[in-house]
Symmetry: C2
Subunit: 338 residues, 2 copies
């Protein structure tokens, strides 16, 4: 490949080369009136003085995986963090750290996915940054996205676990562990012949369909650390116990097989298109119906409930009547999964 088609150090130096890269790739693909102004800061009208703000750096390896790539993921991750906080995602910043020598055509494919997913989710990319580091000083490409959403006063406490009582149900919008196993499977050294695809998706529209009709007491996206980590944090926050039914846990065959071979628990594996919702028992059926009518929630199910038994602990009950405590993972399971 010719030198001209690769990222040079000069693409990050604030001069003409950087200006060209920004114009020819980022402004071309992300174009909107706010971004195109290319000022030091984007000037935004949020329509509210209550906003949600979040940030995430993506260092996933490999950059491309079944079901997505780092560009799509960088949008979904930040959009979902805003959406589970009860906010309507509006604006994103995108910051690239690129290794010298990275192919510009790959950068374009990633930026195209990023732009397409932003369009899907209905968010506008309003500001950005590009840095280039010498060959060997970063692994191909890292992306940071930060996001701003508008939040209405009735949703301000959705992350706090206030108002959760025994009997409330725990709902998830589909199968667990798909993202982690898809990424793991696309690493060269672990290429299982099992079709596993990441669930990487922006959930803001799905979440809104539910929250505009029914109160949701708590929401969280089970990414790094998986469902187990979210449920443990919730149990501690609420000061109550959580009981999960093993038979109700939706896990795809391929993911189950990989987890068995590798010794992973799907409850600890990362998801990128899932939301855990806690709602009052009387709303559960109606919420499930809304979720199941949406592509991103067709396999939704109730996986457990809040209990006054075993406060601050998550207990999994299996089909034979046995039970075991599900803890947060201690250290490392799968590095660079997002």
């Amino acid at each position: 490949m010719e030198k001209e088609n690769r990222i040079l150090l000069g693409h990050g130096s604030g001069g003409k080369l950087m200006h060209e890269l920004i114009e020819n790739v980022f402004v071309r693909l992300f174009s909107n009136s706010i971004l195109d102004a290319q000022t030091d800061s984007a000037i935004l009208h949020t329509g509210s003085s209550d906003i949600a703000f979040t940030t995430d750096s993506f260092v996933i390896d490999p950059l491309f995986f079944p079901g997505g790539n780092i560009g799509k993921l960088a949008v979904c991750g930040t959009v979902n963090d805003l959406a589970v906080s009860g906010a309507e995602p509006l604006f994103l910043s995108v910051s690239f750290i690129i290794e010298e020598g990275f192919p510009i055509d790959e950068l374009e494919i990633i930026a195209e996915s990023l732009a397409a997913e932003a369009k899907n989710a209905g968010v506008t990319i309003v500001t950005g940054d590009t840095k280039v580091v010498n060959k060997g000083k970063c692994d191909k490409l890292f992306i940071n996205t930060s996001g701003i959403g508008r939040i209405t006063s009735d949703k301000l406490k959705i992350g706090s676990a206030d108002g959760i009582i025994p009997g409330d149900v725990i709902i998830i919008n589909g199968t667990i562990g798909d993202h982690g196993m898809a990424v793991f499977n696309s690493r060269e050294s672990f290429n299982f012949k099992i079709p596993v695809e990441s669930d990487c998706a922006s959930l803001n529209h799905l979440i809104r369909e539910v929250t505009e009709k029914f109160p949701v007491k708590f929401m969280r996206d089970p990414t790094r650390g998986g469902v187990a980590t979210v449920l443990n944090e919730l149990a501690v926050k609420a000061g109550l116990g959580i009981a999960i039914e093993e038979s109700s846990l939706p896990v795809r065959k391929g993911v189950k097989a990989m987890c068995e071979i590798l010794g992973f628990d799907p409850l600890h594996v990362a998801n990128e298109g899932k939301v855990i919702m806690v709602a009052a028992k009387e709303n559960a059926t109606a919420i499930l119906e809304i979720l199941r009518n949406n592509d991103k929630g067709s396999e939704s199910s109730i996986i457990g409930y809040i209990t006054s038994d075993h406060p601050r602990r998550v207990v999994l009950r299996n089909e034979t009547g046995g039970s075991r405590i599900i803890d947060t993972l201690s250290g490392d399971q799968l590095p660079r999964i997002c």
Copy 2:
């Protein structure tokens, strides 16, 4: 050094180790009621529906340099991007990408500087993210900060160069090229025996002192690409020429010496505590007085003016009556300067 004092892959995996790192280092040092909630998104009250939003990733090498470190820089850079847009900086996100094996005590020193500079600047760190990559997959530590500021309606157009006319003056709050040369000088292979210190500083308070008394028509911080790049962008935006007087350019002796030896033009060297302001001629003396009464502006000067001659070009006039065009840098000068 013991293994326990270094960053492990598990510190980035969403489990207990990560939770401990966040609690023991980041929450301890950055603590405030919004951050401490540790929700997916920070819930913020901006007091205005007009906000400024900016992002920057910092990949500076080395991490520590005379006058600062990557932590201080990560605050100054984003605070200044907000301030030059006319906004009052309020909130920051901080996202770390850390190389496995990085010493935790160095991370603490950097996080302490970051916290101290945020306090100086009066901004609150409200949300964050931590990723760890395998040894050799990034160079020690990268930091992204994104920032939100409140902007009042009279300042919405400060980045647009609207209303600039021939005769307007160009002011800078002190010497140029200090940051770039300090960083360059602290790289092992180029250790000149010249004391040069980075100007790394948050300028929001200084800028506010000026803008609450006098209209400023344009502001920009001359970071990567230096003063020359900002002036060229301004000349194009305004469709006017810019004339700079060489004798008025404030350059420290050590910086001048280094630039001469290395063949750099101080006009192309990065600054991290400088702002270029364009103001009406009749306000120039009063603005200079305000700037000079502040520590961060004691060496402020008028470096040139807007002209209808040579539209869209920046021309430097020297003491002997000669002149030359100052262009934007084409490619690379000093990689990883910020």
